[in-house]
């Protein structure tokens, strides 16, 4: 428990209005978007890098845990204060400091909301591509910590591909600068890429230099409906083989299609086994030509219907199915567990079939949808955590889904992160040497284990 003396010090550091330790506030910062919860002792909202450095120095001296937090919408437990201590909310650092259209970069503070940032650069006809589904509420700092993905991942990559440089405060309270704003840089170890995806366990990011790309001139959106999942899966591979990398290549399975139709009634055929939502973008002639190719591939692979949007309104219509996927599924049962196991694209059909078999065997409702183009699907288990018997089956099913992904040469997490939710599988995927190296890096940065402890199995086991 953080002592009264330390509480006074923290209050003094950030100002009383930015220090919270009522039980109500502690509860409000004890959760993220997973089922896990843990109470912090207190919560602070620092306003400057200096305050953050002072807080970490204090934590390191006194030895209390600090868990950084953005919006707290993560899907792997990364922002949950599992050992208590202090939650440090970064949302007051919310300025977009600079947008350079000439040098194609921008500088943002970690509390900036991703969609707000994307909208700001769009005014300059620039694109910040990573678009996680939570982008209207999640923060750039959170995205960096979790290396967030999104629907554009296949063509444009993920957060890590867009981080040029970082400013971060170490657990000792020192301010570290990594990377450079130039297009290329090979000066020393690539500490920028080490910090991206480190889930707030190595340093607290306080400034982010992001790469931008020109906004594509034109976009084509298509929806293809299939009577057979294998046809859809083959289409995904065939599109890539035809030389087209679409900006978006999303998949919805039979369970998801029916959930969407139950809830939104948009006229999707209920017998459909799969839907692909595809977008091409770029110069107008290129986007159009690629779209033609995509549609031809869909037809060759027995797509039953293909619709192409003729304008913005029609585009919105086509997108309804994908946009409504999670909310439609979430209405089926009270507890929604959104998973993230990712496989190589060529193994998507096996993954889809495998998840369906797991669902049948465990008598569960599992909707599968997501980024088929990069193999990152989101098997979503619908259950009720109060039904102990069913929930036990759900947990088993999730374990099997992880095993399935790994056995297909995949990974536990395409974009949500490991945190505490998947920590127990980490060794299985990265092996004992990998885990040992990670632990040594963690110790080098944070010898007193004060920064976001209890995540990713970074503590030494006996």
């Amino acid at each position: 428990m953080i002592s009264d003396a330390v509480r006074s010090k923290l209050r003094e550091l950030v100002g009383a209005p930015h220090f919270l330790d009522s039980l109500e506030d502690r509860i409000a910062y004890s959760y993220d978007a997973t089922l896990q919860e843990a109470l912090p002792d207190a919560v602070v909202y620092p306003g400057t890098v200096e305050e953050i450095a002072a807080i970490l120095r204090l934590a390191n001296d006194v030895r209390f845990a600090v868990t950084p937090r953005g919006a707290g919408t993560g899907l792997s437990g990364g922002s949950i204060p599992v050992v208590g201590g202090l939650v440090m909310v970064l949302t007051r650092l919310n300025r977009i400091e600079e947008i350079s259209a000439d040098d194609l970069y921008a500088v943002v503070e970690p509390g900036v909301i991703t969609a707000d940032f994307a909208a700001a650069v769009a005014k300059h006809r620039l694109l910040y591509p990573p678009d996680p589904a939570s982008q209207t509420v999640s923060t750039m700092g959170g995205n960096v910590a979790e290396n967030s993905g999104g629907l554009r991942g296949l063509k444009y990559g993920v957060t890590k591909h867009y981080i040029l440089a970082l400013e971060a405060v170490t657990p000792q309270g020192d301010v570290l600068r990594t990377g450079a704003t130039t297009v290329k840089c090979v000066t020393g170890y690539d500490l920028t890429q080490l910090l991206v995806g480190s889930e707030g366990t190595l340093a607290v990011v306080t400034k982010i230099w992001c790469k931008l790309v020109p906004m594509p001139e034109h976009k084509e959106s298509m929806l293809a409906i299939f009577g057979d999942v294998d046809d859809a899966a083959r289409t995904v591979a065939a599109i890539i083989r035809s030389g087209v990398i679409p900006a978006t290549l999303e998949f919805l399975d039979h369970v998801t299609i029916n959930a969407v139709e139950d809830f939104k009634k948009i006229g999707l055929p209920r017998e459909a086994e799969a839907i692909l939502l595809i977008e091409t973008d770029g110069q107008r002639s290129a986007a159009e030509a690629e779209a033609e190719k995509v549609m031809a591939v869909c037809r060759e692979n027995r797509a039953q219907t293909i619709q192409k949007a003729a304008n913005e309104d029609e585009r919105t219509q086509l997108w309804q199915a994908r946009r409504g996927a999670l909310s439609s599924l979430a209405r089926i049962r009270p507890t929604t567990i959104l998973e993230d196991a990712t496989v190589p694209r060529s193994r998507v059909p096996d993954m889809v079939r495998g998840v369906r078999e797991i669902a049948q065997r465990h008598r569960l409702i599992i909707g599968n949808f997501g980024h088929a183009g990069d193999g990152n699907l989101h098997p979503t288990v619908l259950t009720d955590v109060r039904d102990k018997e069913e929930y036990a089956r759900a947990e088993k099913a999730i374990d099997e889904i992880f095993e399935l992904a790994l056995s297909l040469g995949g990974t536990l997490s395409g974009e949500h992160g490991i945190g505490s939710a998947k920590a127990r599988y980490l060794r299985r995927e990265i092996g004992p040497v990998g885990l040992d190296v990670m632990r040594r890096i963690k110790r080098a940065f944070d010898p007193n284990d004060i920064l976001n402890p209890g995540k990713m199995e970074l503590e030494e086991q006996g």
């Binding site: 919270l20 009522s22 039980l23 109500e24 506030d25 509860i27 409000a28 910062y29 959760y31 993220d32 978007a33 997973t34 909202y45 919006a71 707290g72 919408t73 909310v89 949302t91 007051r92 939570s134 209207t136 509420v137 999640s138 999670l326 909310s327 979430a330 209405r331 009270p334 507890t335 929604t336 109060r386």
Partner: protein, 407 residues
């Protein structure tokens, strides 16, 4: 304070349970966007209620204050992937808190006394309610249509009320008014969680309207509209179910115990906003706007008339009928419209003005010269917002714009 005395309807418990903590509500909650505090957004409030139900938190003042700080705008519900009925849950929680013996926050007590007493929130006399009305409307008479003025128009803004009368009369519309006998619809009472008081208001009003043969209720007050459409028609049945007939705010007069089979709880009044009636009259050619108004006007979908009552088209139809009006949309409009912050005017005027200033900023950025509203609360609070922003922005009631163009 014992948690076991806090009793929610089972369907409300289920709503709490369904929250998947995605945090989408953080995008749209006006109070959260001002404070940045998780305890001041739907997710935080739902999780705090859950903590209390699981005995991890007492029925504390901190919990109560956060539940009462909600604007009831329900923008969170629209963006919630699970479709949680947050507004209903907040209402139910306030009811349950009062029933568990938790005192009302300061400021609400006085409001409650005023409304249950003199039938208005302003501390004025019931006998003065109809003073602004021409003689023919000061007493009820049999009529299928009643025009319900509401407290705001009766006591705070009868200027717009008089325009409503002038417009309806010019179209030859027939209606009666309760005049001095009109009662408060009870919305502020329900909103603070006093469901017994709200039930009493509802019962008296419904019985009075039935007595005079009313089939259609028309009102220019968005809050009353919401109350009549939602609560009076029994849509918030679970709140009514939480009412305890032995509560002291039930009227001891009027109905006997057998009537507590609550025939007043189901009825089929048609409920319209005055703008819906105006739109109809315009379509029928009984009202013809003539004078031009060459302005770029942004219409703000107030929460009570819009999200809560589903009336989005009529105000726009009326505005479009005025020659030369250029109608602009706010960036978030219709079901996604953002609250002006008005419900906090009494308890937190600085916050209310700050939220309103965001709406004014949005209107300015959209190129609007004027903001048109259909709600007395939006009308007042947006002016505060413009002041706070230090800008000139014309705020007008749609009725006033129509009235002007009919002359």
């Amino acid at each position: 304070m014992s948690n076991s005395s806090f009793i929610l309807h089972p369907s409300s418990l289920e709503e709490i349970f369904r929250c998947m903590k995605c945090g989408n509500c953080r995008e749209v909650c006006p109070v959260f966007l001002e404070t940045g505090r998780e305890g001041m957004v739907a997710r935080g409030r739902v999780q705090l209620l859950k903590a209390m139900l699981e005995n991890r938190l007492d029925l504390s003042d901190g919990l109560r204050d956060r539940i009462y700080a909600c604007l009831n705008c329900n923008a969170c519900h629209v963006t919630c992937p699970c479709g949680i009925e947050v507004d209903e849950l907040i209402h139910a929680s306030r009811v349950a808190m009062l029933r568990a013996g938790k005192p009302l926050p300061d400021g609400h007590k006085l409001l409650r006394e005023r409304i249950l007493g003199e039938q208005n929130p302003f501390g004025q006399k019931q006998s003065e309610r109809g003073a602004w009305l021409p003689e023919k409307y000061r007493k009820p008479r049999p009529s299928p249509v009643v025009l319900h003025a509401g407290c705001a128009i009766s006591y705070a803004n009868n200027r717009v009320g008089k325009m409503v009368l002038a417009i309806l009369e010019s179209a030859g519309a027939d209606f009666m008014m309760m005049g001095d006998e009109e009662q408060c619809c009870g919305d502020p009472i329900l909103r603070m969680g006093d469901v017994a008081g709200a039930e009493a208001q509802r019962r008296r009003t419904v019985e009075a309207y039935r007595k005079w043969g009313v089939e259609t209720i028309v009102t220019g007050c968005a809050g009353c509209l919401k109350m009549f459409k939602r609560y009076y028609t029994g849509q918030l049945e679970k709140l009514s179910d939480m009412s305890d007939p032995s509560d002291s705010s039930e009227p001891s007069d009027s109905l006997d115990a057998s009537d507590l089979s609550v025939s007043y709880r189901t009825h089929d009044f048609r409920v319209l906003h005055t703008l819906e009636w105006f739109a109809q009259l315009i379509a029928e050619g009984r009202l013809t706007p003539k004078q031009t108004l060459a302005k770029r006007i942004a219409y703000l979908d107030g929460c009570d008339i819009g999200r809560h009552s589903g009336v989005y088209d009529a105000p726009r139809q009326v505005l479009r009928a005025i020659p030369a009006v250029q109608l602009i949309e706010f960036p978030a409009h219709h079901e996604s419209s953002r609250c002006c912050g008005g419900p906090l005017m009494a308890s937190d005027p600085a916050m209310a003005a700050s939220i309103a200033s965001k709406r004014v900023r949005e209107a300015l950025d959209a190129g609007a010269e004027m903001i048109a509203v259909a709600c007395p609360t939006c009308f007042i609070n947006l002016k505060e917002g413009a002041n706070r922003l230090g800008v000139r922005m014309d705020i007008q009631d749609v009725t006033a714009l129509l009235h002007r163009s009919l002359r």
